[in-house]
Symmetry: C2
Subunit: 183 residues, 2 copies
């Protein structure tokens, strides 16, 4: 049974033109910048979540990073193909419903949802409540879009925007069906 009490938060970097990776998934444009990540509030954000949910693509990008970026975090991966026993740092789930059931049974109510496709699925299920988007001052011109196909326009309520060093601009939004009406 899928619970509806689980909420998700997004913490993601994009190019100015809204791409989270190159067409091939590459994030060299991001990793080579040598930004001061402590300044992004990532640690504070992670402290607010119970577990991280990601798709296979994002998991495989994580595998290429040194060190493993999710040390100390409960990591749930949605994949129809990954071997469930291949990596004891994560659990593998065959569907989002399965992932939600497991998270619920573990008392993990607030998830960090990562990866364009999984974020899109969570958005379409109405499970994302907060988005932190950090804009990197580069135009890529093509790549994997921030989100995939969304069923309906999703209205956001702007919470705050901070200019970080090296031209990063970070905005926090809450999903708000009534944002348009509130003006």
């Amino acid at each position: 049974m899928t619970s509806t009490t689980i909420t998700g938060a997004v913490f993601i970097a994009t190019s100015v033109d809204g791409y989270i990776a190159r067409e091939d998934g590459g994030i060299d444009w991001l990793t080579r910048r040598d930004d001061d990540l402590s300044e992004t509030g990532y640690d504070d954000f992670v402290a607010t979540i119970d577990a991280i949910a990601m798709g296979r693509n994002t998991y495989e990008v994580g595998l290429t990073l040194e060190p493993w970026p999710y040390t100390g975090m409960r990591v749930l991966v949605v994949s129809s193909q990954l071997d469930p026993d291949a990596d004891d740092r994560v659990t593998v789930h065959r569907s989002i419903d399965d992932l939600l059931d497991v998270a619920q049974s573990e008392g993990a109510q607030h998830l960090y949802v990562d990866g364009g496709q999984l974020i899109t699925s969570f958005l379409n299920r109405g499970l994302i409540t907060e988005l932190t988007i950090t804009m990197v001052p580069v135009i890529l011109g093509s790549g994997l879009p921030l989100f995939g196909l969304i069923n309906d326009d999703i209205f956001l309520e702007h919470q705050r925007t901070k200019t970080l060093s090296k031209g990063l601009v970070q905005s926090v939004y809450r999903v708000s069906p009534d944002a348009m009406l509130e003006g």
Copy 2:
């Protein structure tokens, strides 16, 4: 002969996920917001430019707006098909080179470049020097991207970011080939 002394500036609104219009060109998500446009600095921006250059799509969106949004501005439209005599508020040019020649001959050195395709062409020619991007707090999930295919990554130097009312976030960038090196 195409001059290289012409520079272009971009002043554009996008959804949080980087779309400037729906797939069909629709900008209802933008126009129905009833934002206070004076707050966006649009008038100050327009005062800095000599003329506006746009593609046919953008011109045709302008035709649907009441009143005509370019009153008092010199408007140059790039189109291979538009009848040059159909609208005496604009001149029609068969190519960007032609447009640049005419602008140059008129002493219009700093152009407001509008429309995703034309902006992309100007970016690829290295003619855009400044971008003002106003992010509207809505996720569309699909649409016409802010830019088209860019030949190489374009590095930007962040100038300033302002939070406007109703959750609009406006950032100004300068194109800077050395932005990465400057840190």
